[in-house]
Amino acid sequence: MNIQKLISKIKIARKRRLINSFHLSPKSGIDVGDEEYQSVLQLLKDMFKCFKANKCSIDVSFYGEIFITLAECDHSFELSITNRPRCIDIKSAETHLGDNHFIKMNSSSFNNSLTVSVKTMRKKSEWKHYRISEFDIDGLVLAELIIKNMHQRVRYYSNSDEALSLDQQTKLDRLAAIHLGGAILGKSSMLHHLSSSLRKIIYISKITISAKSIIIGDSLDRESSYHYFGDREANFFSQYLINY
C-alpha cells in the first residue's frame, strides 16, 4: 500500500478512535490535538518513507493502529504518537498526591511533549518512548533510530511474536461499542439502557453482535439474554465496530 493511502486510512480512522474513551484496553495510534495533527501526519509520512526504504511493511488497522513489520525477521511493533509526561514523574506525582488534593511540581518534568512510542508485539513488552523535540522533528532520523533499536532488540528474541491480528473484533471492542452507542445515541436508543444494565454485571463471558441483535452471556455461560435493535443502532455499529 502506498504511503498516501496509509495516511488517508489513518485520517479516516481518527473519528472511530472515539471508542477508546470507553475501551478497557484502548488502541494505540495517533492521539494529538487538532493544531498538531497536520504536522504529526507530515512527520509520520517521513517516517513511513524511511520504513519503506528499509523494506519494512506497514499496516494500519480499522481503528488507526499502526503496525510495522521488520523486513528480514518476522517481528512487528506498534507505533503511537501522543503527548506524554515522563513516566517517572507520573509515579512520583501519584505517591506525593496521596492524601493531598493537589501538589506543586517542578515545571521541567511535565512539559506536554510530543512522543513517538513503540512496543513490540510480545507478551509483557513495554513501550519505549522517543521525544520528537530531541530529533528536531525529523522523521527520517527518528525512524532510522527506531529500526536500529528494533533490530538490536530482536537479536535477543528466541521465540516468535504473537500473531499480528489486524482488524479482529474482540469482546472489549463490542463492549466499548455498546457503551459508546449508549452515550452517542442517547436515551431513545436501547443501547443506552443496555449500557447501564451492563454496568451492574461484574463479569460478562460473551457478547455477540449480529445483524439485528446483541446476545450477552452471563458469568456462568448458562443463560444468554437477547437484545434486539433497529436501523439506527445497526448504522452506528457499521461506523464504529470493526468487521460488523
Binding site: S21, F22, D31, I90, F102, K104
Partner: protein, 302 residues
C-alpha cells in the same frame, strides 16, 4: 561609554536578578490535581476509561491575571462564581499513559478558590472535576499576612466609599426610626385583631392593612440598604486594603499591644463599625480553630 553601559547593566543585573528569579520561581509552577467523577455512584462504573487520573496545569502570569480580573468582576457584579472555557490544562489518563486532547475544560473561579471541570465527547455536560485549590495557596508557598492600616482610609477612594456608606447609614437610620415609630401601633393592632370578634383584617384597604404594608416596605428597604452597605464595605476591604476572601490579615488596634491575625472569611457592617471575622492564625503560622474578630471604625476625615 561602553564601560559605563556595562556598569549600568551590571548594576541592574545585581539588583534585578533576585526579584526576577523569584518571579520565575513563582511563575513556573506546575500544579497536579486529583480528579473526581461527578453524578455517579462510586461502587461500579464502567465509564472509568472516560475519567482522567490527574489534571496538570501551569500557573502562569497570564492565568494569575485572569484570576485577579475575574475576582474584580465577581466583586463588581456580586456573582458567586465565574466559569469559562480554558485550553491550557492537561488531563492525564493512567489507562493510556498519556494526555488526552478531546476534553473541553472549564475553569471555575470564586472569591477564594479555583477548580477545573471537564467533559469528553459524547457527554454533553461536565462529568468530572478537580477539588478546589485556594488562590492563596496557588500563588504563594507560605501565605503572606497583609497588615491592615487605618491610615489607608485617608486615600480619596476610601473617602469616597466611606461617604457613600455614610449616606446609606443616614438613610438606614431614618428608615429605622420610621419603622420603630409605627411598630408599636402594628403590634397593638395585631393583638386587637386576634382578640376582637370584628373583621379588622378583611378589607385590603383598611387602616390596619395599610400600616402593615408600610411596615413591610420599610423592613425590605432596610434590608436593601444593609445589602448595599455590605457590598460597599467589601469594596472598601478589596480596593482600599487589598483584602479578599481567604486572605490572611493582621491588625493592631489602637490602645492595644496584641496583634490580631486571622483568615478573612466574612465581614459585616453596623453603623460605622466594619467587622471582619474568620479563623485565627496561630503562632506556628497555621490556621487555628477559634474565630477571631477585627473591628475597624470607618470614619471619613474630611
Amino acid at each position: 561609554m561602553m564601560l559605563s553601559f556595562a556598569k549600568t547593566l551590571k548594576y541592574r543585573l545585581v539588583f534585578t536578578y533576585p526579584s526576577e528569579l523569584d518571579k520565575i520561581m513563582s511563575i513556573n509552577n506546575i500544579i497536579c490535581l486529583e480528579v473526581n467523577e461527578l453524578y455517579t455512584d462510586k461502587q461500579l462504573h464502567q465509564y472509568k476509561t472516560t475519567l482522567p487520573s490527574f489534571c496538570f496545569f501551569e500557573f502562569t502570569q497570564e492565568l494569575q491575571t485572569t484570576i485577579s480580573e475575574a475576582k474584580e468582576l465577581l466583586l463588581e457584579k456580586g456573582f458567586h462564581e465565574l466559569s469559562f472555557q480554558l485550553s491550557a490544562v492537561n488531563w492525564f489518563f493512567k489507562l493510556t499513559n498519556r494526555y488526552h486532547h478531546d476534553i473541553t475544560t472549564f475553569i471555575h473561579i470564586n472569591e477564594k478558590a479555583i477548580y477545573f471541570s471537564g467533559k469528553m465527547r459524547p457527554f454533553e455536560i461536565v462529568h468530572f472535576r478537580t477539588p478546589e485549590i485556594s488562590i492563596n495557596q496557588l500563588e504563594f508557598n507560605q501565605t503572606p499576612i497583609k497588615p491592615i492600616k487605618i491610615s489607608q482610609l485617608k486615600g480619596p477612594l476610601a473617602i469616597g466609599l466611606i461617604t457613600k456608606i455614610d449616606n446609606l447609614n443616614k438613610q438606614y437610620k431614618e428608615t429605622e426610626d420610621l419603622y420603630y415609630g409605627i411598630e408599636p401601633l402594628i403590634n397593638e393592632l395585631q393583638q386587637l385583631d386576634e382578640q376582637t370578634a370584628m373583621d379588622l383584617h378583611l378589607h385590603c384597604d383598611s387602616q390596619l392593612d395599610l400600616i402593615k404594608r408600610q411596615g413591610n416596605e420599610l423592613l425590605s428597604k432596610m434590608e436593601t440598604l444593609e445589602k448595599e452597605m455590605h457590598t460597599l464595605s467589601r469594596a472598601v476591604l478589596h480596593k482600599v486594603f487589598g483584602v479578599s476572601k481567604g486572605d490572611w490579615i493582621s491588625y493592631l488596634p489602637a490602645k492595644s499591644t496584641s496583634l490580631i491575625q486571622l483568615q478573612y472569611d466574612h465581614c459585616d457592617i453596623y453603623e460605622y463599625n466594619l467587622t471582619m471575622r474568620g479563623p485565627g492564625i496561630t503562632k506556628k503560622g497555621e490556621l487555628g480553630k477559634r474565630e477571631q474578630v477585627i473591628s475597624i471604625e470607618l470614619v471619613s476625615e474630611t
